[in-house]
Symmetry: C2
Subunit: 723 residues, 2 copies
């Protein structure tokens, strides 16, 4: 067993080594960690328009450092010429001596030398791209925004030890002629499936929810042309209430093709001219982030397969430069929304660059002046997102690059505790929780304390990873807060955590939020879990959840307690319900009791609801984590669990991405096939008979439960009899 | 007396009122306080080149907020159309309701309404310009970088009370077609006084130190052309050591005029072509900040008049977008240098916009990560500069706009105290003091504690102005620190403050720095002052000061003790010495013992020294404050002192600017004429006979000293007999 474990370790390490070597040969555009992410998010989030008006965020937008010093110490066997590209004005120093001008090529002599490149750029992020035979710009370069190198009266340069360096960041931009500021999502042409033309208007149907730039072909004439976008036909046809639109003043004596300047979400567009403007046809440029699917899922239930496919499409539409909330309206980076996208991402695209880019953008820069997106819970989801990111990827590098920002944000939060050490909404804090009628936001809400406790645990974990002695303090604070959760909020009478505590007194209300999170955070003991399941989760007397956002966690809690059968039915009802109404992507909110175009209303506006919202895609996560049952047990899938649950399906098969490649799984009621690329796995099954297979190591855990060890690189075929 | 004082007050108020009305009719480009200043300083400070290479600063450069909300509540008698210009993408809300598109004109209805304009701009500072019949953009508009206005589930907007607003800032940009980013200093053509042409080169002399863009007239041919700039002839002729140069690749079949892209400092330029390039002539575009002189000084000593004129020219050359150190080399905003420029400015241009712009740029933004310019003393000069600014201008508005930045910087400093509450240089801190050979920077230096104490006094003063209860704490900390200064550093044996304290023990060295500052800070009692004058100031055994930078304070200390006669001789020796060497502007450093081109060397480079350095212009300040003897006693010259001292001159006359206009003064050994526009003045003279004049109120202070009250708007002619 020990030898086997070592060989597995060796396998992982050599793979990492290969990657490291491969990276060293590929020059990258590099910059200060977080700066490109912030710059790009400013650009993206300021693209929102509402009825033709610019509609920006209401929180602080940060900015990049305009002056950046990049350096690396190299040790060369032979002199080497390097080529330098920079975004901005720059200089080059070799061993602290300025090279004349802004050299495109520099000869670095043999031996040990320090190369510095200092760049100023106001408009975009100071970035460099350096390539030589062995010297390339990559994350081995160090960066600082204040090098504190001054010259004293003798002309000597002082290099001060207190200067803070980080590793340079990159995002796989490898073309020296395309600096980071040139980054754009790719587009491909797509065509309408149906067009209805009347004398003054033209209604185009692209067949399903989509996103991109409308192209008007053969536009000609002089006059006004309006383009009304609709996620529904009703919306496109409502000149007064369509959420997005373009107004064009056309003056074209000859036919010309015209592309709208901003990409938009729509299935339908209604184009209305004033009679003097004509056009031949309408198509679109579909804009997308190139994130190939790694994860897969299919099963014996065709409706579930359709749900999975539409969830995939929904998540892809909402996964762009960043993980955004939805494609029609905000197109902003909301921490609570992004948190769910990250989790789904680990089971589908496993695109970690987009996760860290989203985390950097959400965090912004110091000083902290408000909660992330102004929302208290959203600050905590940011911490939780880091916790999960580390679990799924094992990426310690990001933790250490980002740790200072975690700490200053947590310090800001800690300074806002009330005398009991709890957090209440202070002026300027939005306590969100969920869109739910009549939900009280007063006092210290149990749900917020729960997220706070988990955030402190995240601090403790990361402090340990970066060897910050404060780790013990965070650990202790988390422990105390967990104790207070039960001391202040647990009601023996209600068998649940109550909703809030006002003026030092617990309230009588029970809501689902804290109770369901405490289940999958494992804050309850087994007795409490079972009690809460009955008293809250399956209790119709507790206010129902109507957003897919909180349904995500509610169904997760049920799955975590083995209720896959129940959850499968819920998924078929809820997501299947949207499909039955013709949804081609999943919605921001779904209320089965609404009817007709009433489904599209929200925020007091007839088409206020987004019909493609990332948080609607949660089946991806639930199916991957709780049906295929794959999840890391230690960071980066070094050890992991495969605990399949069919929940009533006859069979299912799928793939779950890990840092080293996919875990493949086929599960029927009688057979399980599994293969993993790395790490040490535990396949946990319930079987009426002892599982059988060639060369398998089975541990009988009692009560029909069996653990089977999964070694990397082997295909396991296990025969069993599902309970 | 009381009635008179009231009428004076009335006078001041009505003047302010007039200004307010005048301002309300003039629309301004407005922005978030400090943001334009920071943006412009990034642009300016990154113009430095050294031998053709970009040469940026080594401290953190900050950046503007990219997203800004401007608002104003108006109350209109009649509907009013406003015109909107913005730098950036913008929207307009009237009473929280979005106006469609990015409207250039909006009709504001009669009655009370809130106008919001929200602007995003990445490249430059989000700014607006609004003009209507009564509504104009000015500092009555409020700004915030996070409006925290969110929409809840019912579509209602939450306006959160914790949002922090400041008044918008402006800089007299009143042309709507010229947004702030278009700001440029004006230029005028200037011509050479002498040209020496040889076969391959051409040496042009502009007659005196100057600054601007070199113009090459009738440039033609193909090949390399080098432009070497020299503050001295020797520098221009040194292709290898000239500090600045331009290298041109010429390819012009026809004659053309060409202007160099960067403005430079020079008196001489040497233009060297490779033989295939020809040109007809060379001129320049003199670049300057348009700051008219308000103050004047002239006297019976022609050498002093020349010193004053060259000092004026020096200060003007170094007063550009900001008060910079010198024009050849750094062209950066150095806090210690700017501090002196501010003081000189109060006696010459009295341009307060440039003072506050410089203070904002120096401070940058939170978080504080290092001392201003990395230098401990320079952090303190920033505080001192605010103290003086308030004294000379009475501008409470700036104090309240800037106060938060003062507080976060001071908190950062306070966190760096050692166990005795003193400041020592920590890693990353540059303890500068002065360019002086062998000067120890170890331990807790008395000079730094002195500046620290004065900074705490500044905090106490400003806290009181903005009604921050922390004021008492700052006051107490300042008091304690002043006590420690004497407890730890005063040596009865040496009759002086010693230089430093290392490991809790005072050192034996005495330097001039702390001792001279303690005189004009009034930290010494009269006995100590007199003792220090002999034991330090006039003691040749104490290390001499060689920079005009510290000469400024040394001479100020002597003047503050009535040594105007001695100081006049020193000025004639030191500044007169530079003039005798042909200086057309005053230098960064002057050592009478150097000779020939040796005068131009510094930092180990033959032409490293700047021959036009703001800190060389201190006679402007000394002559205004200690010879004409005019200084505010309370903020903004509400009360002020005129204490003329001829220091051996037969007569002098001059004008000193105040917020309300100039104080005019003529002083001979027998007569004083004085007239002031506002405030209550005290003319303090020493006279062998009681001063006489029409309608004057004289108080005999004993020992031949007399105080005469100066009322605004009256010309006083006083006959006396100077001692």
């Amino acid at each position: 067993m020990k030898i086997k474990s070592l060989s597995s370790l060796f396998f992982v390490c050599s793979w990492l080594l290969l990657t490291e070597t491969a990276m060293a040969q590929q020059a990258q555009w590099i910059w200060y960690p977080g700066d490109f992410d912030i710059w790009l998010s400013n650009k993206m989030q300021n693209r929102r328009t509402e009825r033709g008006s610019f509609f920006p965020v209401f929180w602080k937008m940060d900015n990049h450092y305009v002056l950046m010093d990049f350096h690396k110490v190299v040790d060369l066997h032979a002199p080497e010429e390097i080529t330098i590209h920079a975004e901005g004005t720059y200089n080059v120093k070799i061993d602290a001596k300025l090279v004349m001008g802004a050299p495109e090529k520099v000869l670095v002599p043999a031996g040990k030398h320090k190369i510095n490149v200092k760049v100023f750029c106001q408009e975009a992020v100071p970035s460099i791209y350096i390539s030589g035979k062995t010297i390339v710009s990559d994350s081995s370069w160090m960066v600082t925004y204040e090098d504190k190198e001054w010259i004293d009266e003798t002309g000597k340069t002082s290099d001060i030890s207190a200067t803070k360096y980080l590793h340079a960041a990159y995002s796989n931009f490898t073309d020296p002629s395309q600096p980071p500021s040139a980054f754009k999502l790719p587009v491909v042409p797509r065509f309408a499936v149906k067009t209805e033309v009347s004398s003054k208007s033209r209604l185009i149907d692209f067949g399903k929810e989509t996103f991109g730039f409308i192209r008007l072909h053969g536009l000609k004439g002089k006059g006004q042309l309006s383009v009304y976008y609709g996620e529904s036909k009703e919306e496109a046809l409502s000149a007064t209430n369509a959420e997005t639109q373009d107004q064009l003043q056309v003056q074209l004596p000859e036919k010309r093709d015209s592309v709208m300047p901003l990409s938009k979400a729509f299935r339908f567009v209604n184009i209305v001219g004033d009679g003097n403007v004509s056009l031949d046809s309408v198509s679109m440029l579909y804009e997308y982030a190139d994130m190939p699917d790694k994860g897969r899922f299919s099963c014996s239930d065709e409706e579930m397969n359709r749900i999975y496919d539409v969830a995939k499409y929904t998540l892809h539409l909402c996964s762009r430069e960043f993980f955004i909330d939805g494609i029609k309206r905000d197109r902003w980076i909301w921490s609570g929304d992004a948190y769910q996208s990250h989790l789904m991402n680990y089971y589908l695209m496993n695109d970690n660059t987009t996760v860290t880019r989203t985390l950097y953008a959400l965090r912004g820069k110091d000083p902290v002046t408000g909660h992330i997106n102004t929302i208290m819970d959203y600050t905590f989801y940011w911490f939780l997102g880091i916790y999960d990111y580390y679990q799924y990827t094992g990426d310690k590098h990001f933790i250490s690059q980002n740790y200072d920002r975690m700490k200053t944000l947590m310090n800001w939060v800690l300074a806002r505790r009330n005398k009991d050490g709890l957090l209440e909404g202070l002026p300027g804090d939005w306590v969100f929780i969920d869109w739910a009628a009549g939900l009280s936001k007063k006092g210290a809400i149990s749900f917020e304390q729960l997220l706070f406790a988990r955030s402190l645990e995240t601090m403790a974990l990361c402090a340990e990873l970066v060897h910050d002695p404060e780790g013990a303090t965070y650990h202790e604070m988390a422990k105390q807060l967990r104790e207070k959760l039960f001391q202040y909020y647990w009601s023996n009478q209600k068998n649940a955590l109550v909703h809030s505590r006002i003026n030092g007194q617990p309230t009588e209300t029970v809501t689902r939020y804290a109770n369901m999170f405490a289940i999958f955070f494992n804050y309850f003991n087994e007795t409490q879990k079972q009690a809460v399941k009955q008293s809250v989760l399956l209790n119709p007397g507790i206010q129902k959840i109507t957003t897919p956002y909180m349904r995500f966690y509610e169904l997760e809690a049920l799955c975590a307690m083995g209720e896959q059968g129940y959850v499968l039915k819920e998924m078929k009802d809820y997501w299947g319900g949207m499909l039955k109404l013709g949804a081609t992507s999943f919605w921001e909110e779904y209320n089965p009791d609404a009817s007709g175009a009433g489904h599209y209303a929200m925020y007091g506006r007839p088409f206020g609801k987004s019909l493609c919202h990332a948080w609607g895609a949660s089946p991806i996560y639930l199916l991957g984590k709780y049906y295929l049952g794959v999840q890391p047990l230690t960071a980066g899938y070094d050890t992991y669990l495969v605990q399949p649950a069919l929940g009533g399906l006859q069979w299912m098969k799928g793939e779950v991405p890990t840092p080293a490649g996919n875990i493949n799984l086929y599960v029927s009621t009688r057979q399980i096939k599994v293969q993993a690329p790395a790490g040490m796995g535990t396949l946990r099954v319930k079987s009426k008979t002892p599982p059988k297979g060639n060369n398998i190591s089975v541990t009988n855990k009692g009560e029909n439960a069996y653990d089977i060890t999964i070694q990397p690189g082997r295909e396991y075929v296990i025969n069993y009899l599902a309970i």
